[in-house]
């Protein structure tokens, strides 16, 4: 189980430090934040930190739907030759899909990436939609378009959370994905929804829904059972859940829009901006991010709030953004490691125990007079428990 950095606007050398330390095994680069002239240099930089680092590049083709949208923020994406607007009715026909796939291949084939991530469009609401049909054409064509590259090919699945809530359509989509005549080697999966800004966190996001998480886990389980690699972008604290279900890799970053996927990230919403979010600490026990002042208070009352890992030391003072990213990766890697071995039942049991321990820890904090946000967290943990149960049912365990 690999943990990768979800690349974004980068204020320092977080990725190279993370790779060098081994808290992450590589990175998923974003062409929104690195143009075609600089991308090779960026890859060299990461490989300089660890020659064996896994480097992927998400072409973010799904964001082409925001071309021409007022207030879009597409960054360097518009410098990439493949990033051109396509009409949906053109994509329904095969040649436009092949052209789009080839366009991305031409742009990335010379890069020293570990595997190619093939482009796809965004599935906005339902698997029973024209977009889902187009997305399947992209998946079906990925292997052929990237065949000359002799590197593994991962097809992108960028899915709105709502699509996972319709079991019959989702099931039919899975049936198709697992019966492709020329399948890719794996999938790069993004699940999201809702508007996200730098201060959004997972606990408050739309993705935290027992059915959505269970569906995302099922997607990983089914694809892994059928021999595919599954890399989950923007998975953040859900990483251990996706790993337990069979995912081979997850990614998260340092801003909220790198931890949670949303098409809203490509639109600059009015009224957003201002102060940067407060640096937080990922507590394995609480399965949550807490502020530094909360960490101090909670750790006094419930010592297990501290992970007992190397980067805890960064939190004795006021940690910087790089320390925050490294601590996040360290904590999530450690959670992933707990579900890396054993049967699926064992892994789900480990996760259930983790959720129960978090619930008990929050109850202990509440008994000691700390009640801020407890209701939200209880709801969040309830969704995680529900997700495990729903997944068991969906996966027919």
């Amino acid at each position: 189980m690999r943990l990768l950095a979800q690349h974004g606007h980068q204020p320092s050398d977080m990725i190279t430090r993370g790779v060098a330390e081994g808290v992450i095994q590589g990175a998923i680069l974003s062409p929104r934040y690195v143009g075609p002239e600089k991308v090779a240099e960026k890859i060299v930089e990461i490989r300089g930190a660890n020659a064996g680092a896994e480097v992927l590049l998400d072409p973010e083709y799904y964001a082409t739907r925001q071309i021409g949208t007022p207030n879009n923020q597409l960054g360097y994406l518009e410098d990439w030759a493949y990033f051109t607007s396509q009409r949906r009715r053109d994509l329904v026909r095969g040649p436009a899909v092949e052209e789009a796939l080839r366009g991305v291949y031409d742009a990335v084939s010379g890069l020293d990436v570990s595997a190619h991530v093939a482009p796809n469009i965004y599935i906005p609401q339902s698997f029973d939609s024209m977009e889902a049909g187009i997305a399947l054409n992209f998946v079906a064509g990925a292997r052929g378009a990237f065949a000359a590259g002799e590197k593994p090919v991962y097809a992108t699945l960028a899915i709105d959370r709502r699509a996972l809530l319709s079991p019959a359509d989702f099931s039919a989509f899975l049936d198709y994905l697992t019966a492709l005549e020329t399948p890719p080697d794996g999938f790069y999966v993004l699940v999201g929804g809702g508007l996200i800004d730098e201060r959004s966190d997972l606990v408050h996001s739309d993705v935290v829904d027992a059915n959505v998480i269970a569906g995302w886990m099922l997607l990983n389980f089914v694809l892994a059972q059928n021999g595919f690699e599954v890399i989950n972008g923007c998975a953040d604290l859900l990483s251990p859940f996706l790993s337990a279900a069979g995912g081979s890799g997850t990614a998260t970053g340092w801003w909220s829009n790198l931890r949670l996927f949303s098409m809203g990230r490509y639109i600059k919403a009015e009224g957003r901006g201002g102060q940067l979010p407060i640096v937080r600490y990922v507590s394995k026990l609480l399965m949550n991010r807490i502020r530094n002042d909360e960490l101090r208070a909670y750790a006094t009352l419930v010592p297990g709030t501290l992970n007992g890992l190397t980067h805890d030391a960064d939190y004795t003072g006021v940690p910087g953004r790089t320390s925050e990213a490294l601590q996040t990766w360290e904590a999530i890697s450690s959670l992933n490691a707990e579900v890396s071995d054993g049967s699926i039942e064992t892994k789900l049991g480990t996760l259930s125990n983790r959720v129960e321990q978090a619930r008990a820890a929050y109850a202990a904090l509440q008994r000691r007079g700390i009640s801020e946000g407890i209701e939200t967290v209880t709801e969040y943990l309830g969704q995680l428990s529900g997700a495990i149960e729903n997944f068991r049912r969906l996966a027919e365990l």
Binding site: L174, D175, L177, T178, F221, N226, E396
Partner: protein, 292 residues
């Protein structure tokens, strides 16, 4: 079978079928044993009802039998019953119309006759391998069988062909099969049918995984001595409800003596969701190879 041909009249109509003997019958088909050009074969006689002429289904019946024969002819494996030397032709016996053709006559008995013999792991592994090799050939020919069940699997006792799959009577050609009265309705034998076949739009997603499901149920039933969903004496509606809604017992719970990985393989073959099953017979065979 309605209007099963009288064996003496059949002998008169086809005197070249030496030593003709009745073997068994189904809804529209009777099977006889006969010597044809010195070889003992299974002669199949399919009834064409007189109303078929009036309601336009005569051509459809002929087409269905032709499809079965074509499908068998296209499958290159000895895991399936082979065609015999008597080619398909119409025949009239006692004033009734039939189609007649032959297949090889296999020795042994069907798995149905051998249920509750508590087969050992070695035999079950060989059975699973033979079924998957048969399905692999069927898939390669662009068909699905749609009626894998213990009645359609012969345990021959032959070392080179221990288990052979029979009866492609309702085989479905993926891509291009025209709808007929029969295959527009519910295909197969209900208690062995994959859940997706109960959906009205089942043809949209039909693939070899439906056969893998039926093969899984067949191996489970043979191994455990009981069907994973059906109970003796209960209605098909009850069984269908179970197939669609209830998890089956795990094979390991009924046959603790069998290796866990093998039990899990069989269980996975008949998961309710096609995507949770093996995607094709080759994937099952690859996993079987990893088992001792």
């Amino acid at each position: 079978m309605e209007h099963k041909p009288d064996i003496d009249q059949l002998r008169q109509a086809r005197p070249e079928l030496a030593g003709l003997e009745f073997l068994r019958e189904g809804g529209f088909k009777a099977v006889y044993k006969a010597q044809i050009q010195g070889r003992v074969e299974a002669v199949k006689v399919v009834y064409i009802p007189p109303e078929a002429e009036e309601n336009g289904t005569r051509e459809e019946i002929i087409a269905r039998v032709k499809r079965e024969i074509d499908a068998l002819g296209q499958c290159r494996t000895n895991r399936l019953v082979a065609l015999g030397s008597l080619a398909l032709e119409p025949i009239s016996v006692g004033g009734h119309d039939y189609l007649i053709y032959s297949e090889e006559l296999l020795p042994g008995e069907s798995l149905r006759q051998r249920l509750r013999t508590r087969p050992d792991y070695r035999e079950l592994r060989v059975l699973t391998q033979c079924l998957m090799e048969a399905l692999q050939a069927i898939e390669l020919s662009g068909h699905i069988h749609r009626d894998i069940k213990p009645d359609n699997v012969m345990a021959t006792g032959l070392p080179e062909r221990p288990f052979v799959v029979l009866d492609l009577g309702i085989a479905f050609k993926l891509r291009g099969t025209e709808l007929t009265a029969r295959n527009a309705g519910a295909p197969g034998t209900v208690i062995y049918m994959a859940p997706e076949l109960f959906l009205p739009q089942y043809k949209d997603a039909l693939d070899i995984r439906s056969d893998i499901y039926s093969a899984g149920v067949t191996v489970f039933e043979y191994a455990a001595g009981q069907h994973p969903f059906h109970r003796a004496g209960e209605s098909e509606y009850t069984t269908v409800y179970r197939i669609l809604n209830q998890p089956p017992a795990k094979l390991a719970a009924l046959r603790a003596d069998l290796p866990g990985p093998f039990c899990r393989l069989v269980d996975r073959c008949f998961k309710r969701r096609p995507a949770l099953r093996y995607s094709n017979p080759a994937a099952v065979l690859r996993e079987l190879e990893t088992m001792i």
